[in-house]
Amino acid sequence: MIVLIKRPTPSRFWAYTTPLLAVLATMIAGGLLFAALGKNPVEAIKVIFWDPLFGANAAYFRSQLLVKAAPLILIAAGLAVGFRAGIWNIGAEGQYIIGALCGASVALAAYPAESAWLFPAMVVAGLLGGFLWGMIPAALRVVFGTSEILVSLMLVYVAQNLLAYAAFGPLKNPQGYGFPGSRNLQQYPSAHNPELIAGTGAHWGVVAALIAVIGAYVLMHRHIAGFRIRVAGEAPRAARFAGVVPARLVVTCLGLSGALAGLAGLFEVSGPNGQITDSFNAGYGFTAIIVAFLGRLHPLGILLAGLLMALTYIGGDMAQLMLGLPAAAIQVFQGMLLFFLLGFDLLTNYRIRMTGAHA
């Protein structure tokens, strides 16, 4: 019989090892899935994980890596702070959309004026938009005690409809021959979020993601405020004993993660994506949840997890192109990764012991 025994002190070894184990297990299970779909599993894994980094067209794909990873890391860094505190913002996708909408609106209102102040103003608008969208569940939780999980999630659907409304209505490109979607900001110099160093894919969002990771690390692991946030997640009563005001914590966590998600949306709409369309959002807000957990809610872990997840996106696209692997297979793959991680987490807090049949 197998018996679980709670470890007195959580194992550091397993805390670092389980994400690697989870990735390995996912590759095996994913390979089986690909085999079931009639693809050569070794080939598929190679196309997803190896070719984008070291294959024939690696130079192009490597720059895509940062483009895809930046929003994931930016959003996940904010989410992880809240998750540590036991505050579940799962509506980052909505905050991402609203950030993009607000930032793009500022740009489109100013069009075609050129000014060095425009892009900073858009950044502020995107940040504020995400922040305020995150403030809705925060305020409802603080004032009425409404579940932030359900409200933030419902607001994703509201935001998606707003996005479609904007793309078909107020923000529609007047010169777009009737097609839905806004003007392309890539063709509007003052509003464009360009590649900063040619060939790297690094735009302002990448810079913001790096700052967010460093900031989150200092906050969570060096500052007393971050310590109190961690206490709030581990033991809410102890947090109150340590002087944490629950309402302030809710506002901080939802506001911070909302603002970062809004920023991610702004950088995306003004950079790689370029325009508001009804299909602008690509699920970064949800994938960032996987990134946050895969990174063990630790900023540096999130950096690595974001890059890995970006790799699966790019590799997935390649596999779709070269092997005809359905796009959804990658989504399943990412879901499995999270399952394995959550399952293997047991090893961090419990010891597994085999006992004889007599017990």
Partner: protein, 511 residues
């Protein structure tokens, strides 16, 4: 001899990784006998009764019930064999009704209507009035215990196990319980009575088995021994009495005036017009059965919940609106009852746990940034000064035994040199040596001029260390009385007597 025994246990052993909880334990109980299992916290009493009740399987040894081999695979089997158990805690469902709670403890309960009738019958027969339709969450601790007892009695048990039954009762309620138990014993039910309260065991039990460190270290007839002899058998040596000399009361340091607050949770009590004055050098004992507002009082005084203006005055300054850290800065520290999850974070190390309360009065942070070195040396200081047994400061709080963690928590506050310290249940679930050390630390703190409030269910403890005694009952605090010359009877009445039992008591008295 064995043939006449109801329960006969030989060579029982149970080991957990790192601990042998029970080793070669054996004893026997005759029908109609009240048998005490006596031992300190951690002596192995609960593991032993869990094996008898089928919750834990022994590694070795045999049990016989009424001469038959007895190996209960689960509590259901134990109940079917005629063994019933009244738990210390953890076995009632607050949101369910009395009748539903009783039904859950029975194998094949009758329909609810009949069950409600039988609950009323049994409860009047044994003098334990109870309304089957009430929600358990609304009942007092004593009433909840009645639910458990009636649940057992409805199954006609041959053996009734009672785990620390009196820890939640007022002295008057204890009298009623003993009356019920004697009546049951007279009817032939054997009772296995687990306790560390010596006077109770001397008053109630026919025989006693004494456990220490998982082993049987002796057996006796409690009536023939003094409480001190029993204590020495239990602890395994002489034990030091606390020294309460050298105190003089100074000026008031903390005043609470007509403090009222709504309940914190659905089934929690409210605080009603609580007033008290604590003077420098004083140890004020607040007694009462848990659930009468102890937790709420500590949380409010510590600053976790703000209260109305003018209700809390610390060293002459109004602090009712201030949070815990502002109050710490002014010299008011506290140690809540729940060690894991309130006074300390279970998964965090002892070093990290100093940051919970220590950043205000100790230089553990600089401009908000944590100085891990300073935190570590503070943790080590606590470990040394309070003899906390741990491999080091890096160990998680949950890895420590109850007594050691409690020493750490109390030490963390005492070493910050408070002017006012409020502690709730400082020695609950703590072994005798650690309890004595904690009590002495509180007395020493008061001797240095701090005011100390000790909230406790353990009346003996309060009589031992407090200068003045107040009772907390249903959120109300009685006027203080000097502990010298106070009798248990008087305390019991201050604690609310026996809930809703005055008529029963009157009948007893008339007999």
């Amino acid at each position: 001899m064995t043939g006449t025994m109801l329960l006969d246990i030989v060579g029982l052993r149970k080991a957990y990784p790192g601990v042998v909880a029970n080793d070669d334990v054996g004893f026997a109980v005759a029908p109609g006998e009240v048998h005490a299992l006596l031992g300190e916290n951690g002596a192995g009493k609960s593991t032993l009764v869990k094996m008898i009740y089928g919750l834990v399987k022994p590694d070795a040894g045999t049990m016989r019930l009424m001469g038959q081999p007895y190996e209960p695979a689960e509590p259901r089997a134990a109940r079917a064999a005629g063994v019933a158990m009244v738990f210390q805690h953890f076995s009632l469902f607050e949101a369910l009704s009395v009748a539903e709670n009783v039904a859950l403890g029975m194998e094949s309960p009758p329909p609810m209507r009949d069950l409600a009738r039988r609950i009323r019958e049994i409860s009047t027969t044994y003098g334990l009035p109870l309304d089957p339709a009430r929600t358990v969450g609304d009942l007092s601790a004593g009433e909840r215990q009645r639910v458990e007892i009636i649940r057992c009695l409805l199954q006609d048990p041959k053996l009734l196990i009672m785990d620390e039954p009196t820890s939640v009762l007022t002295p008057q309620e204890v009298e009623i319980l003993f009356h019920t138990l004697r009546k049951l014993a007279a009817e032939g039910t054997a009772i296995l009575y687990i306790s560390h309260k010596l006077e109770e065991i001397r008053a109630l039990c026919d025989s006693a088995t004494i456990l220490r460190g998982g082993k049987v270290v002796g057996s006796c007839i409690p009536r023939e021994k003094t409480a001190r002899e029993l204590a020495e058998m239990m602890v395994g040596g002489e034990f030091a009495a606390t020294d309460r000399a050298g105190r003089s009361l100074g000026a008031p340091v903390l005043e609470v005036r007509a403090l009222s607050l709504a309940p914190m949770s659905q089934f929690g009590p409210a605080l009603r017009e609580v007033s008290l004055t604590l003077r420098a050098g004083e140890v004020l004992g607040i007694g009462g059965v848990a659930g009468n507002g102890q937790e709420e009082l500590l949380a409010t005084l510590a600053g976790e919940r703000p209260s109305a203006p003018g209700t809390v005055i610390l060293k002459g300054a109004e602090v009712a609106h201030l949070g815990p850290n502002e109050r710490r800065a002014m010299g008011l520290l506290s140690a809540p009852e729940e060690r894991l999850g309130h006074a300390a974070v279970p998964a965090m190390s002892l070093t990290e746990n100093t940051l919970l309360t220590g950043t205000i009065r100790r230089p553990l942070i600089r401009q908000g940034f944590i100085d891990m070195g300073a935190a570590k040396s503070f943790a080590e200081e606590i470990i040394t000064a309070f003899d906390v047994r741990t491999p080091g400061a890096h160990v998680a709080a949950r890895a420590l035994s109850g007594g050691n963690l409690q020493k750490y928590v109390i030490g963390r506050e005492v070493l910050q040199a408070p002017d006012v310290l409020i502690v709730n249940q400082p020695t609950w679930g703590v072994d005798a040596a650690a309890a004595a050390a904690i009590r002495q630390a509180l007395l020493d703190l008061a001797a240095k001029g701090a005011g100390v409030i000790v909230i406790s269910q353990d009346l003996d403890e309060l009589m031992e260390i407090a200068d003045n005694f107040c009772a907390l009952y249903e959120g109300r605090l009685s006027a203080p009385r000097p502990t010298e010359g106070l009798t248990l009877e008087e305390i019991g009445l201050m604690l609310g007597g026996a809930h809703g039992m005055t008529d029963v008591l009157a009948k007893e008295a008339a007999r």
